[in-house]
């Protein structure tokens, strides 16, 4: 056995000796310098910033030049989202975004729009999420005018052709039909639905709600949310500031609307807690847990970000990964997530594990969440998390387009202007005590929502301290 294990290394050594390339000493382990002793050159860097320009009609523009490629990129954020769906018409926001792109404009029918975009090798995407719409578009610099013209038509005067709405509705229904095909997607959708009881964020489209949606609803939704002061644009690429501002003015400047930007929506009031099961006969369970936590503008945001990193979002050395994957081999994917918004945050954990280890995985995770509230995080763990977050900070400034969009997003989230400038200092100031305090303050098993999608009959005996889980069916 011994020879077998190291045979590859031995033969490598032999060959190197035969070829006389180097002394055998090279293979002694000590010639690899201990990583802690490597001397690194200094890293000097500036944090480039996009310029912020306010248009007369209230639209905010972020600009950063990037001459490397003959391409211009435009992104936009609109204060809207699926949480603004009128009750009973869930799905309206997503449909509006989709048919804006596919349903023609006041000047051009849908077929003509599709043809022109494809000929330009460019197509804007308009994606509707819970609390924003995001537009993404890039094209050859030489096509600046036709591309901006089409983009402004789509954003300002979409036609919402009836046939394209009907097609979109049919495709949405097919999406619903397929919603249970992918267990992870299903789990996260149902988890969100449970997380926000009696809140617009917890509503999803159903066959019934789609039935209630008509063309006039899309037109009204578009009118309600798509106006200059309610959106921001980031532009970067092979274009001067002067040209960028002039062109945006040319295509969007005459879009007059006296309304001010909408406010950030108020946070959800409460989350549901307890344990929920969704039955799907598969050999692997999807285990998702979560609870509300600190917002992005709260001073505890920094401590909680580090806490989340150590618990399960910091990759291999994080606690959940080490416990569930390394030590027990129970999952390939396991970890935590922290999504902080302006007025609230959601913290959660997940593991995908074979049916028979469903409860064991959940126990390991809950034990970790309990353990960190007792102050068990070591100085070494804190040090690792801080160094990781501080040293990788420069990757937030890798590309001009990314920088412009990032600045737009921070403005959208109403974060203070010096957020990025003070980020590292605030991360660095977090102490072990802070971690213990925020863990105890925000992590509470009694308030935690857990959803398990899997072969519920085969999970085994329920743990003693559990209430009977509630069985749910996917909402279609």
């Amino acid at each position: 056995m011994k020879n077998k294990i190291y045979s590859c290394i031995l033969s490598g050594l032999l060959i190197s000796l035969l070829h006389g390339l180097m002394t055998s000493g090279v293979f002694a382990a000590e010639t690899f310098i201990p990583p802690g002793k490597i001397k690194y050159p200094r890293l000097d860097f500036k944090l480039p910033r996009a310029e912020r320009i306010l248009l007369k009609n209230g639209m905010v523009l972020f600009y950063l030049q990037d001459r490397e490629l003959p391409v211009v990129s435009i992104s936009a954020l609109v204060r809207t989202g699926s949480m603004y769906d009128p009750p009973g018409k869930e799905g309206l926001a997503e449909l509006t975004a989709y048919v804006m792109r596919t349903g023609g404009t006041a000047k051009l029918d849908s077929g003509e729009i599709d043809e022109r975009f494809d000929l330009l090798a460019a197509s804007p995407s308009i994606s509707m999420s819970l609390d924003s719409a995001f537009v993404n578009f890039s094209f050859f610099k030489s096509d600046l005018d036709p591309c901006l013209d089409l983009l402004s038509q789509i954003l300002r005067e979409p036609a919402f052709e009836e046939t394209k709405l009907q097609l979109a509705l049919s495709l949405k229904k097919e999406e619903l039909r397929r919603i249970t095909d992918n267990p992870q997607k299903l789990a996260f959708r149902e988890f969100n639905r449970l997380l926000y009881p009696d809140d617009p964020r917890g509503r999803y489209f159903t066959t019934a709600s789609l039935q209630n949606i008509q063309r006039k609803d899309l037109m009204a939704f578009h009118r309600e949310y798509f106006y200059p002061a309610n959106m921001m644009i980031a532009i970067s690429g092979d274009i001067s500031k002067k040209e960028a501002v002039n062109k945006i003015r040319q295509y969007f400047g005459h879009w007059n609307d006296s309304r001010h930007a909408l406010d950030v929506p108020s946070p959800p009031k409460q989350t549901r807690h307890g344990i929920f099961f969704l039955r799907k006969e598969l050999p692997q369970s999807t285990v998702v847990s979560g609870e509300f936590t600190v917002s992005k503008v709260h001073p505890d945001y920094y401590a909680f970000s580090i806490l989340d990193f150590i618990i399960g979002s910091g990759g291999f050395p994080s606690r959940i990964f080490t416990a569930v994957r390394n030590n027990e081999g129970l999952a390939y994917s396991a970890g935590s997530f922290y999504r902080a918004r302006t007025h609230y945050g959601v913290f959660g954990t997940y593991a995908f594990t074979k049916t028979s280890s469903t409860f064991q995985s959940l126990h390991l995770i809950n034990d970790i969440l309990h353990d960190v509230t007792t102050g068990s995080i070591t100085e070494k763990e804190l040090d690792w998390a801080k160094k990781s977050m501080l040293n990788s900070f420069i990757f937030s400034f890798e590309q001009p387009g990314q920088i412009a969009v990032q600045q737009m997003t921070l403005t959208y989230d109403r974060l203070p202007d010096d957020y990025l400038m003070t980020y590292r200092k605030k991360i660095d100031a977090v102490t072990r005590n802070d971690l213990k305090r925020v863990a105890a303050k925000y992590l509470n098993e009694k308030k935690r929502l857990t959803l398990i999608v899997g072969d519920t009959d085969q999970f085994g005996k329920l743990p003693e301290n559990w209430e009977q889980p509630v069985l749910i069916s996917p909402q279609q």
């Binding site: 056995m1 590859c8 033969s11 060959i15 070829h19 390339l21 180097m22 293979f27 382990a29 201990p34 990583p35 690194y40 050159p41 860097f45 990037d66 001459r67 490629l69 003959p70 596919t102 599709d114 043809e115 494809d118 090798a121 094209f139 097609l167 097919e174 999406e175 249970t180 099961f277 039955r279 799907k280 006969e281 598969l282 050999p283 990759g315 291999f316 050395p317 080490t322 081999g329 129970l330 999952a331 390939y332 995908f352 074979k354 690792w384 160094k387 040293n391 990788s392 900070f393 420069i394 990757f395 400034f397 001009p400 519920t456 005996k461 329920l462 743990p463 003693e464 889980p469 069985l471």
Partner: protein, 508 residues
């Protein structure tokens, strides 16, 4: 001394290459610097100065196709084991570890041997061995620090550290702050030369979970696996990268070592460094660490060629999910001229809302929910497939969808595509190409891939020129030659109806 002399010469040559010409913005070829170490390892470097970061790729011309029959999944398994540390990274006492790991392997093997007997296995013995294994694993844990490689990378600001295993190629990659290149070289050279395969048996369970996650619970994964198995009767492209369940369940450390042995072949390796680098210093560092790998002529195992297909193949599977289908055709791989032609055809058929298949099936006939086309499945070292995947829209059937797709392919054979359509596709391919130049990691990935696969990264820099030469006649010819019934494999997934009673029987 020898090393140093060689180096000066190399650098002098590079300097000439480097500054001979002013560099136009898009001319990747003139910006890339290619060097070869004495041991045969190829290094590609490209300076991009906007941010003080660097993306580093190491590729091995070793993948799932190089596995021994019955050990499917070994290449991917090795990729997991390469994160388990080295003789100096992650250990508290390597000598103590070594002894324990030999015992662990002995007990683990005995346990596997017994389990393989299945019904005839001695359950009591299995329990004993499993308990002993657990005990040894716990003891071993006292002597090592798990995930040390990952910790070093993240702590130093590393991003997207990961690896991937394909049929052809295995890749290890990370992005770092530009001043940390030496850390990467130190870790990577060490784990190539002195890896320690800790936590073997728990990792095997992890990979079985990975298989459950990506295949056993996913209709797309299930269908793809069945499709590939059918499309390749002989060639190992038909074997899943993650491994057949049985092979994976009983994978041995010896199988992993066998694949690792193939890694130690500098001629079959390419390194790419793209970002804010100093070319000479970077090359010096790479030579210092990777130059230690001895030169070795490694011969790939004989891989049987796939015989020409002579009749249509079909496979049907049942799963608790909505219907989907895959249609595939055998074709030559890059850099054959037909491969470029199929890239253009892929675009004409599926890219954008006005593409042939999307506009016909989704917009006009409204019988499909989605459609996609991929040229070059599953990999490119050997002849591969041109593949169409589609979801029928309820209540339409596989049959309707298949008929409509085949009619569109027939159309391509019968009538030349218009200049307008051809130019549209070419512009789209050019745009995709240009977008791919916008990121350090994507550039490092692409350059190293083609250098390794075709022996020349310039496949990539010349790509658009070659695409420009594709004609409507080429498309018709290639379609007529390869997109015929005899050369076709069709796989369909049908919905299996399961009783969804939603009645819980869990008792406390």
């Amino acid at each position: 001394m020898l090393t140093r002399n060689r180096f000066c010469l190399l650098l002098a040559l590079l300097t000439v290459l480097c500054f001979a010409d002013p560099v136009p913005a898009l001319d990747i070829e003139k910006k890339v610097i290619k060097a070869r170490l004495n041991n045969g390892l190829t290094v590609l470097m490209l300076e991009r100065k906007f941010s003080p970061t660097v993306s580093l790729y190491i590729r091995h011309r070793t993948g799932a196709v190089d596995e021994i029959k019955g050990q499917s999944g070994a290449a991917h398994f090795l990729e997991h084991m390469m994160f388990k540390g080295t003789t100096t990274l992650g250990t508290k006492n390597y000598e103590a570890e070594k002894k324990l790991m030999m015992q662990i392997e002995k007990i683990g093997q005995a346990l596997d041997n017994e389990r393989m007997k299945q019904n005839k296995a001695d359950q009591k013995l299995i329990e004993q061995l499993a308990a002993r294994l657990k005990q040894l694993q716990n003891e071993h844990r006292r002597y090592y620090i798990p995930n040390e490689i990952d910790r070093l990378y993240t702590e130093n600001g590393g991003l997207d550290m990961n690896a991937s295993t394909g049929q052809d190629v295995t890749t290890y990659f990370v992005s770092l702050p530009a001043n940390k290149i030496e850390l990467w070289a130190r870790i990577e050279a060490d784990r190539l030369l002195n890896p320690v395969f800790r936590e073997f048996y728990t990792e095997r369970d992890v990979i079985l979970e990975e298989r459950r996650q990506s295949v056993e619970t996913k209709p797309d994964g299930k269908l793809y696996e069945s499709f590939m198995r059918k499309a390749y009767a002989v060639h190992p492209y038909g074997v899943p990268i993650i491994g057949e369940p049985r092979d994976l369940t009983y994978m041995s450390p010896a199988a992993i070592r066998h694949i690792h042995h193939q890694y130690l072949s500098p001629e079959n390796m390419v390194i790419a460094a793209v970002g804010d680098i100093d070319v000479q210093n970077t090359l010096k560092l790479i030579d210092h660490y990777f130059g230690r790998i001895p030169k070795r002529h490694y011969l790939s195992p004989d891989i049987p060629a796939e015989p020409p297909q002579t009749e249509e193949r079909k496979v049907e599977i049942w799963f608790d999910a909505n219907p989907s289908m895959i249609i595939g055709y055998h074709k030559p791989t890059a850099p054959a001229p037909e491969d470029y032609t199929f890239d253009v055809l892929e675009t004409i058929l599926s890219k954008g809302r006005t593409s042939r298949l999307y506009s016909r099936l989704v917009l006009q006939m409204q019988i499909a929910d989605s459609i996609s086309v991929h040229n070059g499945i599953p990999a490119a070292r050997y002849p591969n497939l041109f593949v169409i995947t589609a979801h029928p829209r309820y209540p339409h059937t596989h049959h309707e969808l298949q008929t409509a797709i085949l009619r569109e392919l027939e159309n391509i054979k019968q009538h030349p595509v218009s200049d307008l359509e051809l130019n549209k596709a070419k512009k789209q391919l050019k745009m995709d190409y240009i977008r791919s130049l916008d990121s350090n990691s994507e550039l490092a990935s692409t350059l190293s891939y083609y250098e390794l696969l075709l022996g020349d990264y310039r496949y990539f820099s010349n790509y658009i020129l070659r695409i420009d030469k594709v004609t409507a006649v080429d498309i018709q010819k290639a379609a007529s030659k390869y997109l015929g019934a005899d050369n076709r494999t069709i796989a369909v997934l049908n919905k299996k109806i399961t009783a969804n009673t939603n009645s819980g029987t869990n008792e406390k």
